[in-house]
Subunit: 345 residues, 3 copies
């Protein structure tokens, strides 16, 4: 594919070397990381950490930020370039021009076990040994990979993909255009037990899980149903692997949770919140819209909209940064205080 | 169901509005959270955080704590109420009056693959594509959901439920009335490797996992078998999702572990210990009976019975609370110390 | 088996009670932990914590460290012993003399679903309901347990074992002599999304996962493929359960990661690094060869080769130890500083 064709197709180009030199329009055979790209492999540069690669990369085609210095350097080295406010987004679109994700053809494998009361839209694909139980509805174009188990009365929206070995429990509602990755467990009963003198008495979990459209649930993540009502994950939210959403949580739209994030019951997560890896949130906490928790934050109370929190127990990010900078000097500080004390008190 | 019938059935009522006004006995159609309950939906109130809902809820039936002020308020608003020392337990029992959990009928699905040397009690249910290997014994009323794999020589006690896509490894012994949730892996070989000049040499894991009666293992949790002897999880213990119990751990009775708790090899957990979310415990540590670790605690040594520990490295809870309160003031304190030092030393 | 035969077979004996007393050569029927071993059960002692057991154990055969005091004590109690510089390694080899791990016989179960374009070496074992898709190659002696799903174009090296219910995604390359444990997910698409005004846009993950020879992937661990290029796990590396390796990570050889370790995208881990339980590593960090991170460390930047880091944010281990020792005295220190301030400023 010609470099100029890529520039046309990704639709977010701000400027390109083609203006100055329309004849320098190399053939591009694929995409690669900037430190590994060879001639004919399109790559991209984003952030200070990678900027120096414009001087060393072996590729002859780059997506650059809107930085005249980098553009000049690329031109000098004979690298065709296009610049954009968002090189990573442009690169994402370039990948999609060269890559066709694996998707099984529509059709139902003869070894799939499908209850006669289950119903499907058009063009559904159901893989080998998948088990679809009573009353399930699979929308148009749904893809169920091998060995998936769907418990009774589940509803799956159009074009959603259920990857191999995931399990969807009874009455779960999944929207359209979702991806539930391998090993994920959605809709299993929440961890509800009440202490009694005779041990832990189970609280039946009669509620359901609702996953709205465009949600991604990562491999081996778990989303539990509540005692009453709904555990909800909002439209367009993306969960990484090994994430745990407990019973009754209300997760907003466009939220991102990185790997191994976990939350206790009844947590509310506002729209567009970002939780970095291994963040934990205590029960009933309310995280305001657009808030950010950095990696390993331990959140015990509410977080205001837009706030950035860090550490465990979580503090405002700037407070935490300053406190942790002093933390490492504690032994030195302690000695000084002891000397002062001896001297003066 | 009449409100009075519910009051009778849950068996822990201390007082109720029916004494003063037997005629006010509404029909109850279901249960709901207090902020979502409408007329005819029984709800409950527990804790200060939810107390104000007695003045705003739209339901006409509530389970209340033994609090005359809340009772009077409910009466004033025409809400039928019953009060108990433990509203959450009463509500748990009320849910069970309205909810029938999904349970497959007894019988063996024709696609299940069962070794001829496996044996079963009465009324066993084995789902589609489940695989039961040589020498396995399944007790009376055991329910094996679809796509479960049971390795050879496993023993499963009466009425235990194995949810879809869980895996039980060779020689594991599971008691009666347990629930092993989807994706859980029980009895796989522990992480035993010995360093040598030529790399890590495997230590064979010849031991077994024993799960006693009434244990709950959450979705995608893992419990490993040891090199020699037994990894044990005691009677009535409840594990949430994504919990990791390493080889050779001895977990007592009535223990609760929240999501993503993990422990290294050879840890001993006393009876009725509570580990909150994401707690980690180092190898060979001994956690005394009734101890509590708050969320994200990192425990490197032994914890005394009944102790509450917090933070990483874990400290006594009160010490940790005070230290973390000062922590956020470290930058301010550091400045004061620097001024004092300049002034005086 | 005679004690003397064991001493011969484990090949790392430095001295033994047989020299002084060749006639005292007990029959050994098995192996056990030192606090549980009875007569005829070989055990071992390593470390100060267990040394006192030489005076109380009920076994009549021990593997000891090269410690004359312990040897004399064992001789005095009539315990046959052998000593070695590495008792744990010797015990590992002794276990292997008494234990035959479960391994299914070669052969393909009739319920396995194998694409006609998949190919296998000799002596492959494929269990019930396993699904092997188009273009897959399984090397000689590969063992695929029941209900495993292998997506198209995967290559699995000789003698590798895929445990029940694990999932290997498209184009993954797994070396020889690996073990992928139950529920693990290898090669699923990485967590790549780019923010746009209209929500998170997916970055297709066109790369692959490469697992080199002798790697162990624990139960329910996840290893994701990257947008471009390779996620790599080096030869002889051992991963415990519930570990998360994100897209594009480069993990070296002989690395050990304990349970619930997680890392963000593009992390580089040098050879022979050791990451203790629940460690987290931020994206693009580089961990130098032989570095060690203690349990729960939160690593945000690079770590030098051989360095030991502790805490979150991670500090050099000694700095962290000293700082955390002062941390618990913060309230006391704060009071002193306040008194000094009042007195003097």
């Amino acid at each position: 594919m010609k470099f100029s064709t890529i520039a046309d197709k990704i639709q977010i180009t701000a400027a390109s070397s083609l203006t100055a030199n329309p004849g320098h329009d190399p053939d591009i055979a694929g995409v690669a990381a900037v430190d590994q790209a060879l001639v004919g492999m399109l790559s991209y540069i984003e952030g200070d950490k990678f900027a120096s690669f414009v001087g060393t990369t072996q590729t002859n085609a780059l997506i650059l930020p809107q930085n005249p210095v980098l553009q000049a350097k690329a031109t000098e080295r004979g690298i065709a370039w296009l610049s954009t406010p968002d090189p990573r987004l442009a690169f994402a679109r370039a990948i999609a021009l060269f890559y066709t994700p694996y998707q099984p053809a529509p059709g139902i494998h003869p070894t799939a076990v499908i209850d006669p009361t289950a119903t499907c839209g058009e063009n559904v694909s159901i893989g080998a040994n998948a088990v679809i139980q009573a009353g399930v509805y699979l929308g148009e174009g749904v893809c169920v990979h091998p060995n998936v188990v769907v418990y009774p009365q589940v509803r799956v929206g159009d074009r959603t993909v259920l990857h191999a070995n995931c399990t969807i429990h009874e009455r779960t509602q999944i929207g359209a255009d979702c991806a539930i990755h391998s090993g994920a467990v959605v809709g299993a009963e929440g961890f509800g037990f009440v202490p009694t003198p005779h041990g832990w008495e189970k609280m039946e979990q009669s509620g359901i899980v609702v996953i709205e459209d465009g949600v991604r649930v990562g491999s081996n993540s778990t989303i539990d149903r509540p005692a009453v009502g709904t555990t909800r994950v909002g439209r367009g939210t993306k969960l990484d692997n090994l994430v745990h959403i407990a019973h009754g949580c209300q997760v907003g739209e466009g939220v991102v949770m990185a790997g191994q994030v976990g939350m206790a019951g009844g947590v509310t997560i506002g729209n567009r919140v970002i939780l970095a890896g291994q963040v934990g949130i205590a029960n009933q906490a309310v995280i305001g819209e657009g808030a950010i928790a950095t990696a390993k934050a331990g959140i015990h109370g509410d977080v205001a909209p837009g706030e950035i929190v860090t550490g465990s127990p979580a503090l405002p990010h700037k407070v935490s940064l300053k406190a942790s900078a002093v933390y490492r000097r504690l032994p030195e500080m302690y000695k000084i205080v002891q000397r002062l004390q001896k001297h003066l008190l």
